[in-house]
Structures are given as C-alpha cells and as structure tokens.
Symmetry: C2
Subunit: 482 residues, 2 copies
C-alpha cells in the first residue's frame, strides 16, 4: 500500500531555500491585476486602465529592439536568409563571421568553444577598449545566461555556511531584491550599508568601515557588492568614490562584486561611467594585482534591452585560476543560449561609422538615451516642485527613487492594517489613479524614510502625465492624513 | 597598504562546490585537441583527422535543424519577415499567434506571463495528449532553461545538508555525470543502483529494495532518479518495470525524478516510450494521488536537437503547492530565453497533416529517426560479431554503451600509470585511429566491467567505418595484451 505521507513538503524543503524571501509579486501588483480584470468586466473605475511604472524591461515598455542586433540574430537562426535582399550587407557579414565560429555553423549546438573561448575573447577586447587599455584576459571571463545567474554563481563560490561564523556580504540599501535572495540561498549574512541620500546617494567608505567592526562579531565579512549605476537610486559613482571603496576592500580584505549592468545608461550632464576595473588599474600594481574583483554586465539593459535573450558575463580579476575549475561546475548547469550569447558579442561591437547600418543604429540609440535623459530631468523637476517629495539627481540607470513624505497618521493607519507605510501609500494611489509603483520597502530604505521607484521607460509625455497624477495624489494624501 | 592575502582561494571556496567532481574535459578529450593541433601543424599521424564519437549534440554532429522550428524562431526574432514571401504560411501563422501572447509582442521582454502561464498550458495539453488523457495541470509545470538547470532546481529543493543524516538520492549507474555533480552541489549522498546489463539494462526493483536498508544507516533515502530512455544505456523501460519502480517508491517513501528527455528518440522495433506519469495514472488513485513525481523534458534532444536554444520543463505530480513558492525563488535565477521557450511550444506541437510545412517536417523527422535506427542496428551487429565486445539491444536515446573486454595485463599496466583501464584502452584507440570515445568510468559501471559510449549521430556509412576501426583495434588490443 502506498504511504500517505508525502516526502517533499513545505516543512521538508531545503532550509537555505526556505530562508530566501518569497519573490515579490507584491500585494500592489496582485491588486493591479485584479483591477485590470475588473475593468475588463465593465466595473467602473476613476481611470480607464492600469499604468505600470514598475519594470525595467525596455521592450515590455514598448521600446523597439535595435534593428541591427535582431537582424544578425535572425540571420544566424535561419541562415537561408543570408541570400535575402531584405537584410543590409553589414548584418549579413557579421552573421557569416559569427556562424563561422560556431560548431557546424549552428546556433542549435551547445557550442562550448564559442561560449568558453571565442566570445570571452571578444568581451576582453571590449573591456580593454572601454577601460583605456587596461588588460583583460579572456580566461578570466565567464559567459552566463544573464546577470542574475552570474550573481548566484559568483556569490555561491564565496558565500557558504561555515560551521561557526557565516560569510558576510555588504550590500547597498536600497538595492534590488536579487542580492538579498542570493545571499539567503547561499547561506550568508547580508550586511546592509546605506548610500547617503542627502549626498545624492554617494557611498561613504568611512561609514562602511565603522559598521564592519560590529559585523565581525556575528560573521566574517568577505564581499562588498556595489551597483553602479545604481538600481534603484540612479546614482553614478565618481572615480574618487570608487577609489575609496577599492582602498576599503584592500584594507578590510573584501572581494568587490561590481554590478555594472547599467554602464551604458548614463545620461546626466557630467556623469561618466567608470568601471571598477579601470579605476583599480589606475591605482597601480599594489592594488591592481591584489584586490579581487568580479564585474557583471549583460544585454538586458544598456542600449539593447534584450532581457528575453538571456546573456551576460562576469569578469574576474585576481581570482586564483584553481577557483575557476569549480566555477565551471556551476556553469555546467547554466549553459547560455547561443543566440543570446552571440547577441552579447554584437551589442559590445555595434555598427561603426561607414557601415550601412550605422546611421539607423545611432538614431535608435540616441532616441533611447534622449528619452531616458528627458524623462530623468522631467521627473526631477516635476517631483521636486511638490512639497513632501524629494528626488535626487538621476544620473543613470532606468529608474527614479524619490523620497515621499508619509504623515504620522498614515503610518499609524498602515501599521494597524499590518502594512508598510509606503505600501499603504502605493495602494491608495493605485485605487485612485491606476498607477502601479514599486514601494521603497521592497528595496530597503533607511529607517523612517519612504520611497517609490518609478521606471523612466515611458514615452516622454506619458511619463509627465503620470508624474503629475502622482504629485497631485500625494498632495491630496498629505492634506488628508496630516 | 593592500593586504597580500587573497580572499577567494581554492581553500576558501564553498565546500559543497568543492565536493562536486571537476567537470570532465577528460584526459581523452584534452589529448584529442592536442592531436588535432599536431595534425594542423603538419605532424604525421596514422589518420587524417580526429573523429569525435562523444557528443549527443545533434547539430554539432552535422544534423540540420528542423526547418519549421527555425522559421518560426526567425519570424519571432525579426517580425518584419512576416511580410516575406520566403516563409510558408503556417510558419507565419504560428509566429503571429506566439507573438500575440508575448509582452508588447517581443521576444526581448522577460515575458513572465508567457513563461509561467501561456507555455505551461501548451505543455499540459501536450502531456495529456501523450499520456492518453491523464490530467496535467499547468500550475504544476515549470519552464526551465534546459534539463540540467531543471535537475539542479528540483533536486535542490529536496536534497539538503541535514545536521545529522544527509538526504540520499538513488541514481542509476551507469549515468551521465550531471546527477553526481548535482547531488554533490546540494550536499546529498549518491546511492548508486545498477540496471542489469545481462538483462538488457532492465532495472530490478527488488535489488534496489535490498540495497536501501544498508543505505538507511548512513542517510535518509528520499529520491530515486530514473533516466528513460537511458543515457548512456539506450534501454527503454517497459510499463511493467515502471510500475514496479512506482510501487517501490510508494513503499519506500521515495520521490521519483524521471529524466525523460529522450522520449522521442525510441526506434527499436517493439520498444515504446511510456511516461512515468502515464503508468502512475493507470495504477489508480491509491498511487496517482500520492506518489510524488517530477518529470523533465527539453528541446535539446528528441526530434529537434536544439540544445543551443536552452529550454525545457519539469512537471510536478503530487507536490504541495506551497513548495512551488520556493521553487519560484530558484527559478528567479533561471529565467529562460524566450526564443528557446517558444521553440519548446512549437516542438511539442509540430505541423499537422494538411499544413504547408507538414511534408518537409515529416521527411526531416523520419530521416533523423531512420538514421538513428540504422545506426543502432549496425552498431549492435558489428560490435556483437567481435569477440570481447558485447552490445545490448539499443532501443532508444542517442548512444550505444557496449561492454569491452580489457585483459588482465592491460588492467595492470593502466593501474601502473594511474589510469582507469577503459581510459587506457580509449587513449590507445585515439593514438591509433583518431577516434574519440567516452570511456565507461565517466558514467560509472559495475565493478570489473568496462565500457565505451558511442554516439549514434554520425551518418550511417561513416559510423559503420568507425565501428569497424574500433573492432579491428580492439581485436589487436586483445591479442597484444592477453
């Protein structure tokens, strides 16, 4: 007779996984879906439709892909098209060159050599171009199926459950939830550090240093994660700030994990992306040959926004090659889609002046960056005209993360309902306007402060109108609950 | 001053990862690459080139992709092609239907709803068609980026390091190395069981039952993995054998993990693939409502062989929905490529009679299956004519796993060199013929037996010639070392 006891139950699953935060289809998103269904059923609402301002998914938000990238991908998927007049010559030339490096010329093979050798060589060339000639060794570059998997693979190597003291990982707060979950999965301890909102989200190395001695009582701090440009903050670190963090890492024996996936989304006047690697090399051999660094990039954001194609990479600096052997084990479970991988190659080496596709490519790229830049400026302007809302300069990334005032009475009401105060605000906003925002608590925030995250991916006029609705609602909210 | 001690070193990496077996670019593959380079440098060898017989990668082995699948993928990648006369109407209709279910009609979005809802519905319909109407709930189906990731996610949930007794996982031996590594990564204990070579690799439930009481002294056996059709054995389980294993799982409180990725690669006369799910449902509610089952399938093998596109799925049976919440956390690190996912949809629902692409599709499919079937028959015939080699009937999958006699003197010589005896044989074969085989020890084998794994993906005449070279060499090898 079959046993009535089931084996895999909630109680019996792997405790490291149970420790991870349940991923957030948060209550706001769930309620937004309900409202959408109600509208479709003809139930009257004070707005005609739900307006989502949550996502950093460019194409979901209506941005068209870069024509050249998709042309090369289509040609590689179905090489019969190489004879078609519908494609420009440079796309065909690029596709032929890539197909020549693939096993049997097919994107349908695992292509281990392309993934482990050919593509890392192309990435290393890109890194060297980007970083003013700083050396990059293809053997230190691992191609992944996107940054999430890269973060998990890389942190899994370091973070582990020790019998006595766990590994500590410094993580900026606010921070998108990936890191919290990864560290929980790996059995590590998250050590939050707080970029200073009042200094435009700059990171204070000295404040991190102070917090480390307390942290050492409960774990062994081994990694500092940095997200530059910031998600959700939109802050771009200065070279001086990066250099301070490298000094900190060297002194405190921390490995630097640099999440640099928004490196091409920098648009504020004067803001320039500098990679941790570049600054590290400028600091001389004492640092560049010793400080351990992992840097992550992908095709999901930047000028491509091809998150559905899943490709990214990690570059390792000063990591013992013997460690790589083990990273390859993790990687054997994360075999990237070849079509995504070759798109990574093309994204890092787009059409150049004189190529048939150059003009279209530049126009598409500039339209995207112009749109982001206008949206960032309008967001700052509209929000900062509103008493009770403050938005720091948005220098890069895809989001604004303004601070919103929540009156005491609203905070108490939220607490009575078992809600976070910023969730309370976002729920009311949703019911009144149909606008869906991410509330700050999903990212973490300094005690007593409340924020909302707004994507900058809407069309310019649409975002203006959304921002006006948010500010008008917040003004009414303040009046009602103050 | 920067510290001279590095943080992430071989000694300091996560011990679970250190416990995993270093992945095998085995010594034979490494030597084969060296020989290839020597040939390119003009060094004389007794053969003109290296002939690899290792891989189950159809397209690397020169098989062309199915035209229809690639047409739909190209149309979805670059929808301007929907106006092109170069594509048949059914491919366009299918692409339009898929694009309609995607966020903003783009494969470049994450498409969470397509991955989590639309595609699982299509997969559930396929499973029900395949299993004579056995119910399949889309909510129990999780789309992954290939079977490797699916195995890791699923087993991570169950297998975990317990303070006292670890989880045990029954794994068939021989078995491709994925499971060994996964179990090590998850901190579990591998419990080998041995399909009986003398009974054509049939699995004996009673022998597994006997081995369990000894196993219970050192761990808690919780999972039994089954690979059907077998890799590397090529055995297809009978419904009776499956039913015995289900009874065993019910009695011994084991979760069944069924790796069914070769379900479409069955070609021996009389052999029919039956899924564990189908047999489970035929056994009535006492079992079908209680025994926990996870079944894995993908687009990497079967009639598509699109391993470079990375898509697969797990169907869960009788798993507590609360467990799924946590599986979704793991899944948030394994976001499948949308283009691979939509290819999974098309592979499970290929062109039907009357569709413009039907004839081409059927011809391509039959050519592939005919090629495999001929190769399987020729392999059995040629190998079994050779004294010292025995090959069981190959019913399905993509490989032969014949047993080869290694004389005592060769075994001792191998031991003197610190080599496995089958590696010793494969190395000599490589130097003499340029043929690269996987040796049996990479898969595990019963003590004192030696095997080689040969892919069945070569063109028919080419494989015959390879087999003749192998048998001739083995005959000389026996003469020399007996």
């Amino acid at each position: 007779m079959a046993s009535r006891r089931k084996l895999l139950t909630l109680e019996s699953i792997n405790p490291s996984i149970r420790a991870a935060k349940v991923p957030i289809l948060g209550s706001i998103t769930i309620r937004a879906s309900e409202i959408q269904r109600e509208i479709e059923q003809g139930i009257h609402k004070p707005f005609p439709r739900i307006t989502s301002c949550c996502y950093g998914d460019m194409q979901m938000m209506g941005h068209r892909p870069r024509t050249f990238f998709r042309q090369v991908a289509a040609l590689c998927t179905y090489p019969d098209l190489l004879e078609s007049a519908q494609f420009p010559e440079d796309a065909k030339t690029r596709a032929r060159a890539i197909l020549k490096t693939l096993d049997s010329g097919s994107v349908g093979s695992y292509n281990p050599d392309y993934i482990a050798q050919t593509l890392p060589q192309k990435i290393a060339s890109y890194v060297t171009r980007r970083d003013n000639g700083a050396p990059s060794d293809p053997r230190n570059i691992i191609v992944c199926s996107g940054a999430s998997q890269a973060v998990l693979s890389a942190l899994s190597l370091v973070v582990n459950e020790e019998p006595e003291l766990k590994m500590g990982v410094l993580v900026p707060v606010p921070c998108y939830p990936l890191y919290t979950d990864t560290i929980a999965l790996c059995g590590g301890v998250m050590l939050p550090y707080y970029p200073e909102e009042e200094r435009g989200w700059a990171v204070s190395a000295s404040r991190i240093r102070e917090s480390l001695s307390a942290a050492r009582k409960r774990c062994v701090p081994r990694v500092i994660c940095v997200i530059n440009p910031g998600n959700p903050t939109g802050h771009v670190l200065t070279p001086e700030n990066i250099s301070e963090l490298i000094l900190l890492a060297a002194e405190e024996k921390l490995l630097i994990f640099a999440d640099e996936v928004y490196q091409d989304n920098v648009f504020a006047p004067g803001a320039v992306f500098q990679s941790f690697k570049k600054v590290l090399y400028q600091m001389g051999a004492e640092y560049s040959e010793r400080v351990q660094l992992m840097s992550v990039h992908s095709i999901s954001k930047g000028i491509s926004g091809e998150c559905g194609f899943r490709a990214g990479y990690i570059e390792f600096v000063n990591i013992d090659p013997a460690v790589f052997e083990f990273l390859y084990i993790l990687k054997s479970f994360d075999i990237p889609a070849v079509i995504g991988a070759l798109m990574q190659e093309v994204v890092l080496d787009p059409p150049q002046a004189g190529d048939p596709s150059y003009e279209t490519f530049m126009k598409e790229k500039e339209t995207l960056l112009h749109n982001l830049s206008e949206n960032a400026q309008n967001t700052e302007k509209i929000l900062n005209q509103t008493p009770g809302i403050h938005c720091n300069p948005i220098q890069g990334g895809l989001y604004a993360f303004p601070r919103v005032k929540i009156p005491e009475r609203a905070i108490r009401l939220a607490q009575d309902r078992g809600q976070e105060p910023d969730d309370f605000f976002c729920h009311l906003l949703l019911e009144d306007t149909g606008i869906v925002l991410c509330s700050g608590n999903a990212f973490g925030q300094a005690a007593g402060t409340y924020h909302i995250r707004i994507t900058l991916l809407h069309p310019i006029d649409e975002l203006k109108s959304i921002l006006q609705k948010i500010t008008q609602f917040h003004t009414r909210f303040l009046a009602e609950y103050s």
